[in-house]
Every structure is written in structure tokens, then in C-alpha cells.
């Protein structure tokens, strides 16, 4: 048994310590977003955020996650209350089959948390570990740019709210 912190909640996990995080998220915690794509760290479909950094959950064993904060796409927002990055992907219709998209979004989210105003070149470089087979790349890039604007607006709004209080 170990304690795993996912999306702000502690979970008691009964799995071997070398179990890749991906299977714990998908099966023990029944979270869908992180996807199995290769199990080899080659495609990015399984990407989640651990302590602010994008991590390939298919090659990250449970034992490395003690005391760390894991965030999955489910932790950012919901269908009813989507986070800026989720809204951006919906508004740009940035998916075809969508299988790779959750991983892309998590990498982009980690980037924007660290650097809220990346250049197009920086976004492309950051997404380099990620594969998309449908060829949705142009829309993915547009969605990340839209997310930058939405986050900016959201920040401005919440700053406004704070100062109003």
C-alpha cells in the first residue's frame, strides 16, 4: 500500500511499486484521460503532470511518486466546467480521433504554467515528444495559442475579482 496524490486527493494504492503510473491511473483510479500508446515513452499519449512537470506515465513507476502531486486532465476541469486549455481545444475543434490529445494538453498545460507566453517555436519544440497520427497538428497549435489567451483573460478576471474584494 502506498499513498498517491492525484488531482488533489490522496489515494491508497495496492499495487507493486514498479507498476507504471499509467495503469494505476487508468485501472485503480478509473481515470480515462492518460492513454496507453506505446508503453515505451515514444508517443506522449500517457502524459500527466507531476509536480508541475510533464511526465510520461507509461514509463514512470509508482515508487517514484511517493509524496508527489500527480495531475491528470481530469484534474484541470470537467465537461461542465472546462479549464482554459480544455475550452481552447473544444473551441478550436482540435481533435480528430482525439486519442493523443489528452497527452498533448497536459504537456501544453505544464508549459503554460511555467511560461504563460511561449512563442510558437517554443510550443512546437515542447510538443516534439508527442505523436498525432490524424494530422491534427495545426489545430493543436492553434488551441495552445488560444489557451494562452484564455488563461490570460482568466488571470486578469481573477485578479480583478481579488482586487474587487
Amino acid at each position: 500500500m502506498m499513498t498517491l496524490k492525484v488531482n488533489g486527493h490522496d489515494h491508497q494504492i495496492d499495487a507493486d511499486p514498479d507498476t507504471p503510473l499509467l495503469y494505476v491511473l487508468r485501472n485503480d483510479l478509473e481515470l480515462n484521460a492518460a492513454k496507453f500508446g506505446c508503453g515505451l515513452g515514444q508517443c506522449g499519449s500517457c502524459t500527466v503532470i507531476v509536480d508541475g512537470k510533464a511526465v510520461l506515465s507509461c514509463v514512470t513507476p509508482l515508487l517514484l511518486l511517493e509524496g508527489k502531486q500527480v495531475t491528470t486532465l481530469e484534474g484541470l476541469g470537467s465537461i461542465e466546467a472546462p479549464a482554459p486549455i480544455q475550452r481552447a481545444f473544444m473551441e478550436e475543434q482540435a481533435a480528430q480521433c482525439g486519442y493523443c490529445i489528452a497527452g498533448m494538453m497536459m504537456r501544453a498545460q505544464a508549459l503554460l504554467q511555467k511560461n504563460p507566453k511561449p512563442t510558437d517555436e517554443q510550443i512546437r519544440a515542447e510538443l516534439e515528444p508527442h505523436l498525432c497520427r490524424c494530422g491534427t497538428h495545426m489545430r493543436i497549435l492553434r488551441a495552445v495559442h488560444r489557451a494562452i489567451r484564455l488563461m490570460d483573460t482568466a488571470d486578469a478576471a481573477s485578479a480583478g475579482n481579488r482586487s474587487a474584494q
Binding site: 499495487a15 485501472n27 515505451l40 465537461i79 481533435a95 512546437r124 505523436l131
Partner: protein, 744 residues
């Protein structure tokens, strides 16, 4: 009371078109009342031909809720949304008030495969006409109840509205078997100028769940008590399992069962990572006898043209008065290429009281059911296949094989839902690849720089080994009592397989097109997006550029000179205009401009693509800078969905064209992951892609999912030739090949 018209498949199937429902549509379909007695009755459009009952497509419940049924599947192309738009439009109901159910052998019509860019024209057309006819039935029923002529009734927001404004809800109007009638040949379709939902960029219904972690794929299914299976595939085609002591594996933590049936080997465990561990252990103890059987990967030109072939002239045009003065020839090759789905194939199966249910991302639930039933040696009625989305497939990937795997394993564990997940390496090694191809072209120019004769020969396997029979599925091939791989057949024209788009759309006075169909399949192959059209269009459109250069003509002008089809001409002009194509233009240093055009299958959507490519002369590395496409897919249903398809086609085709090549030694496939089978990554994504739609209101839907593949390939090849002065004819156009050509 539930007055829903419940679709009863058995009854519908028993009817089989022979069941005559005496229902008068005299008011609604006056124009069809008196067909000439001798002529055969015209059949209704699209897939209504095979499934003519309106309630196979549309169900209205007493509470007014509406369900639309399609036998096609959502593969990420956005059909579910497009079908919902079509039905909402013709039924005159709000878009959100409908639900679309996709392929399920218990619930939907048999529409075969979701392939060949047929969904809009087959299912979309059926839904459009069924919806229009249902609407007319509802109007007729309202008129009957109010004892008024139907002429002045209108519909809106899910109700029929009488001339004096009285509203009768669809749910109140529909009763018993009212929609269980055969479709008429003609429908009163809405005037396209009044469309409110069709033609709008309605957001896709599947995207919100996909970007918020909703359960969206078969991979996301979790049934109560579900166990996890992994298959241990042979290391190579035809390998025999010589020895396998499974006793140690059976004792591993969580292992429920090891399944062995001849060369079919699998392990089932309670938890997924336990299954993976057991699979690795089982792989280690399985001893296989392998036979070297693969051809020389680096000499496919010779391999393919040397294999026995069935040759047929598929097009012949002769005009002796046209005489050529200058003749050129060229040979083009395409390697085996992989679908390379990002999510490896997956399926869930459960056997309960001898009834097998399989949840699968197959493209064809009915053919899959037939194959699985045959493999299990049970009647098809005892198998149900339900489509659940998977990762994009772009043709026949491992989906059907995974479905068969799951069924074979689930049979051994009655009651337990079994989830089979393929590994990355299994998907790469075992999926049926897009076939390698060779084309040889020869043409002459007359004194005016026009093509006087055209010769085109293509060598290819079939482009579909999809199930129907069990023998197409790996599990059935590997069982102790195996099913033989069915004899391959060339796919018939006009759509064709290896000869898809082999017949030129251009008009030449003399033309001769030969299809060399190769029955022997040294490498496992099947349908991949665009089938033979990818290579044939690449060849034709590359060669058109070679001829334009030989004629000293502008490539766009040269195409227009040989093209009569006015919609084709419009598409070419639109793409050229959008790109800023100018006759005699020169690209900046180390850049080139390319152009290509095709009408998919010569009967589906038109697509022209202009590209700008930059080539690094030091490394040979090409980069697509920008692409401008124009597309005519008839009446547009969802413009944003169409643009998404064309954008994707350009990017995916670029990846095939510049990088992709299945590799193998004499025994094994050696491109087994993303390191050994590299595809496009973000560093190669262009600066921009622009797609211009030429909408054709009221015209039939023309499938557009595959129309971009060939033109994108040729446009990029032409731009590389324009940039470097060197013509590359062997796919993929790799950095090394470009560098070697520059240095030669």
C-alpha cells in the same frame, strides 16, 4: 404507454425487402404515384437500398425523443456530428434533440464497412432521405388527424404545425408501426437555401468528452469483473509454436488463465500490469519455429514486378491522328506503409450463456460478426458486435484481429468480460500494411505540347483483406484448427483497389492503362486510407509535372489544358488562386512550389493542393512550409469537419511521403515501434495549411476522407523537384534520398 416504434431487426431482416407494407404516401409523394408499370421500381438512395425501412434509420419515441441509427462508425472523422446535422435539418428539429447510434449488429442496419469515403454518400444520404420521408409521414398524419389537406402544414422544433397554428408534437403523432415502412425512391428534400443546421460548422459531439477525460474509447471500457488479457503473437509470419511450458506463468500473481490453441497464445490476469508481466514471462518460455519467407525489402520494384500477376487492360482510348514527338518514361514505387494508430488495438468480449458480445473499434461490425462466428463455429446470431471508438485507424489496422482475440479468449472464460490490449510492437508488426506498389508510366507530347498518348501500368496486391470470413483474422489463422487466409481478389472498378485512380481523369487522345494484380502477398496487407489511389495519384501527378517541364509549360496550366471536368477545373483554379500561383513564378532559393490534383476514385470528392517546400541542400531535409488546398465534396454538411479532414490528410500524407517505410529482414518485421518506424513530429509541421471549400448546394455528398492523400504526396514531390531540380520517384522521399539526388 410507450408508443415508440421499436426496431426489430429480426423482423426487418425476415422482411428482406419482400415484406410489402400497404401504406399510402399519396399526399407526400404524389410524384411517385404512377411509375411506368414495366420498369423496375427505382430503389431509394444511399444505404436505404439495402435497408429500406425508415425505422432502421430513425426512431421517434412517444416523449418526442429521436434516435438516428447508422451502420457506419465514428473513426474521428466527425460523422456522428454530420449525421446528426443531416437528420436535424430534414426532420426540422433542434440539433441537440437528437441522438445518433452507430454500428451495432443488434441495433443498426448492415452498412458493411466504414471505408472508401462512402459514409456521407451511403449513410448520410440514407439518413437525409429517411428523415425527409419521416417528416412527410408526420405531416400526413397530422393532416389526417385534423382532417385538413397536408399542403399548408409546416414543421418546426419537433412538431407539425397546422395552417391555423396548432402544434402536434412528433412524439404524439408517431404511433405503432408508422415508421416501419419502406422508403420511397424520391424524397421531398429541403431546399438547400433554407438549411439551418446543414452547412454550419457545428462543434463535434464527441470532442468535449475527449478533452475532459470522459470514457470515449473501447480502451476506456471497464465492465464489472473485467479481466485483462494479452496475446503472445508469433515472432514472424507462419512461425509455429514448438514448445511452451506454461506452468510457471500460470502461477504468477493475478494470472487467471493461459489460453493456448495451436499457435494462438494468450494470458489473462486480474489486473492489467499483471497481464503484462505474465505476457513477458510467456514470451520468454514460448519457443517458435520460424521460416524465412519475406522478400527483399530494398528491392520491391523487382520483387513486385517479378511475382506472377493477373493482367488486365482497364482503360483504352485510341486516336491515331494524335502523334507524339517527344516521349518520356518513369517508374515510381511505394513501400509497405503502416496505419500506425497511436492507440494499439483493443477489444472487450464477454460470453454469457453461449452468446458472445464483442465491443470493438472495427470498421465493420457485421463482417466482423461473420468472421468471429465462423472462427468460434457458432451461428452469427449468437455473436453481437458493438462499435466503440478506438484510436484513429485510417483503414484496416489491428481492430478486427483484436476483436477476434478477445472473443477467442472470452470463450474460455464464460461470464467474464475480457479486455485485450495489443502492445505497440504487436500493432506495428502485425497490422495489415498498406501494400507496396510499382507504377510505370510512359507518355508522348505532340508538337503543341499536349499529351498525345499515355501509358500507365500498376503492379499491386489487393487492397482489402478485411474480414467477412474468419481466415482474415490472426486468431483464426493461428488456432489449432486454423482457417486459411481467403484468396485475395482485386477490388472491382470503378472504385478499384490497386488500380484505384489508375485511370486518368485527364483527357488524352490515346491512353492505355494496365492493372497487374498480384495474388501472392509476401507481407500481410489490407486497406489503408485511399488504397491504390495514394500511389497512383502520386505517380500520375508527378508525371504530369515531368511532362509539363518537358513541354515547357506551367504545371497548373498544363493540367487545365488536359482537363474537361468543370468541377475539377474549379478546384484547381481555387487552389492556385488561394496559393497565389503565378505562371513562370520562381520560388525563393532552396524552396520549390508544387501542385497536384485528383478526384478521389474519379467519382468522389475533388481536391487540389498547392505546396511550398523548403529543402536544406546540406542535409537534404525537406520541410513543407505551407499548403493551400481546395476541395469540392458536393453539398457540405459540416465545413469545419471537412477542413479538419483535408488538413489531416495533408499532414498524414506528408508523413507517409517523406518518412514512412515498413522494414523487415528475411523473417521478421523489424519496424516495430516509433523509433524503427518514424513518423512526422512537430518539428516538421508546416507554418500554415489553408483549405478552401467549393460548396455545391443540393448536390450529392461526395466522400472526402481520402481525397487529399494522393494530391498531397504529389504536390510535395513536385515542390521538391521544383526546389532541387531533381525528380524523386521512390517513396518515401527521405532526407537521404533527396541529399543523394542533390549530390548526384
Amino acid at each position: 404507454m410507450n408508443a415508440a416504434v421499436i426496431l426489430d431487426r429480426r423482423r426487418v431482416l425476415a422482411g428482406g425487402g419482400a415484406l410489402i407494407v400497404s401504406f399510402s404516401l399519396s399526399d407526400a409523394f404524389a410524384q411517385d404515384q404512377s411509375p411506368p408499370p414495366a420498369a423496375p421500381a427505382p430503389s431509394p438512395p444511399g444505404s436505404l437500398k439495402g435497408a429500406p425501412f425508415l425505422d432502421s434509420w430513425i426512431r421517434i419515441d412517444a416523449d418526442g425523443s429521436i434516435t438516428v441509427f447508422t451502420g457506419k462508425v465514428e473513426l474521428g472523422q466527425g460523422f456522428k456530428t454530420a449525421f446528426q446535422q443531416i437528420a436535424a435539418e430534414e426532420l426540422d428539429v433542434p440539433f441537440q434533440s437528437l441522438k445518433v447510434i452507430t454500428a451495432d449488429t443488434r441495433r443498426t442496419a448492415n452498412e458493411g464497412y466504414t471505408s472508401g469515403s462512402h459514409s456521407m454518400q451511403d449513410s448520410g444520404t440514407a439518413i437525409q432521405n429517411a428523415a425527409a420521408q419521416v417528416r412527410e409521414l408526420l405531416v400526413a398524419e397530422a393532416a389526417r388527424r385534423l382532417d385538413l389537406p397536408a399542403d399548408n402544414f409546416r414543421t418546426g422544433n419537433g412538431a407539425v404545425i397546422s395552417p391555423n397554428g396548432q402544434r402536434l408534437g412528433y412524439g404524439d403523432l408517431v404511433a405503432a408501426d408508422m415508421l416501419h415502412v419502406q422508403a420511397q425512391a424520391k424524397s421531398k428534400l429541403k431546399d438547400p437555401s433554407t438549411f439551418k443546421v446543414m452547412g454550419q460548422p457545428v462543434p463535434r459531439v464527441d470532442i468535449p468528452a475527449k478533452v475532459t477525460g470522459g470514457a470515449a474509447y473501447v480502451q476506456d471500457m471497464r465492465l464489472p469483473g473485467m479481466v485483462h488479457a494479452r496475446v503472445v503473437r508469433p515472432p514472424s509470419y507462419g512461425a509455429q509454436l514448438a514448445d511452451c511450458d506454461t506452468s510457471a506463468v500460470e502461477k504468477l500473481p493475478g494470472v487467471v488463465k493461459v489460453v493456448r490453441d495451436g499457435n494462438f497464445l494468450a494470458v489473462v490476469a486480474k489486473k492489467e500490469f499483471q497481464a503484462i508481466r505474465a505476457m513477458n514471462a510467456l514470451t520468454a518460455v514460448a519457443k517458435w519455429r520460424e521460416t524465412p519467407s519475406l522478400p527483399k525489402q530494398d528491392d520491391l520494384l523487382h520483387v513486385l514486378t517479378s511475382l506472377p500477376s493477373q493482367d488486365s487492360t482497364i482503360f483504352q482510348q485510341s486516336n491515331p491522328s494524335a502523334v507524339g514527338q517527344k516521349t518520356i518514361e518513369a517508374t515510381y514505387t511505394r513501400p509497405y506503409q503502416a496505419h500506425g494508430s497511436i492507440g494499439p488495438s483493443c477489444a472487450v468480449a464477454q460470453s454469457v450463456n453461449d452468446a458472445m458480445t464483442v465491443w470493438t473499434h472495427t470498421q465493420g461490425v457485421y463482417p466482423d460478426r461473420q468472421g468471429i462466428a465462423q472462427m468460434l463455429r457458432v451461428p452469427p446470431a449468437s455473436v453481437r458486435c458493438i462499435h466503440v471508438e478506438g484510436s484513429g485507424c485510417y483503414g484496416h489496422n489491428g481492430a478486427d484481429d483484436a476483436a477476434a482475440d478477445a472473443a477467442l479468449i472470452a470463450r474460455e472464460l464464460p461470464g467474464l468480460p475480457v479486455r485485450v490490449q495489443w502492445t505497440r510492437e504487436q500493432e506495428h508488426a502485425w497490422e495489415p500494411f498498406g501494400p507496396a506498389m510499382v507504377t510505370k508510366l510512359k507518355a508522348s507530347l505532340d508538337g503543341n505540347g499536349a499529351i498525345s498518348d499515355w501509358n500507365f501500368e500498376v503492379w499491386s496486391n489487393t487492397h482489402s483483406m478485411r474480414p467477412g470470413g474468419a481466415g482474415s483474422m490472426l486468431a483464426a489463422q493461428h488456432m489449432a484448427q486454423p482457417f486459411a487466409v481467403p484468396a485475395p481478389k482485386p477490388l472491382p472498378l470503378p472504385e478499384g483497389g490497386g488500380d484505384r485512380n489508375a485511370i486518368p481523369i485527364y483527357k488524352f487522345p490515346n491512353a492505355h492503362v494496365v492493372h497487374h494484380f498480384i495474388p501472392a502477398m509476401p507481407v500481410r496487407i489490407s486497406a489503408m486510407r485511399a488504397l491504390g489511389a495514394y500511389h497512383n495519384v502520386f505517380s500520375i501527378e508527378s508525371f504530369m509535372d515531368e511532362l509539363a517541364v518537358a513541354a515547357g509549360a506551367d504545371p497548373v496550366e498544363f493540367r487545365l489544358k488536359h482537363l474537361g471536368d468543370s468541377r475539377g477545373r474549379d478546384v484547381i483554379n481555387r487552389a492556385a488562386q488561394g496559393f497565389g500561383w503565378r505562371k513562370g513564378q520562381k520560388a525563393p532559393t532552396d524552396r520549390g512550389y508544387g501542385f497536384a490534383f485528383a478526384r478521389y476514385k474519379n467519382l468522389a470528392a475533388y481536391c487540389a493542393i498547392a505546396t511550398e517546400v523548403e529543402v536544406n541542400r546540406e542535409t537534404g531535409r525537406p520541410r513543407l512550409v505551407r499548403a493551400v488546398a481546395a476541395v469540392d465534396s458536393g453539398q457540405v454538411v459540416n465545413p469545419d469537419g471537412l477542413i479538419n479532414q483535408i488538413e489531416g490528410a495533408i499532414v498524414q500524407s506528408m508523413s507517409w511521403t517523406l518518412y514512412e517505410n515498413v522494414t523487415f529482414d528475411d523473417t521478421r518485421i523489424t519496424s516495430i515501434d516509433w523509433q524503427t518506424y518514424p513518423i512526422l513530429r512537430f518539428n516538421a509541421v508546416p507554418d500554415s495549411i489553408e483549405v478552401h471549400i467549393i460548396n455545391r448546394p443540393g448536390q450529392p455528398f461526395l466522400g472526402s476522407g481520402e481525397t487529399g492523400q494522393g494530391p498531397a504526396a504529389a504536390s510535395i514531390a513536385n515542390a521538391i523537384a521544383n526546389a532541387t531540380g531533381k525528380r524523386l520517384r521512390n517513396l518515401p522521399l527521405t532526407r537521404k534520398r533527396i541529399k543523394d539526388a542533390i549530390d548526384a
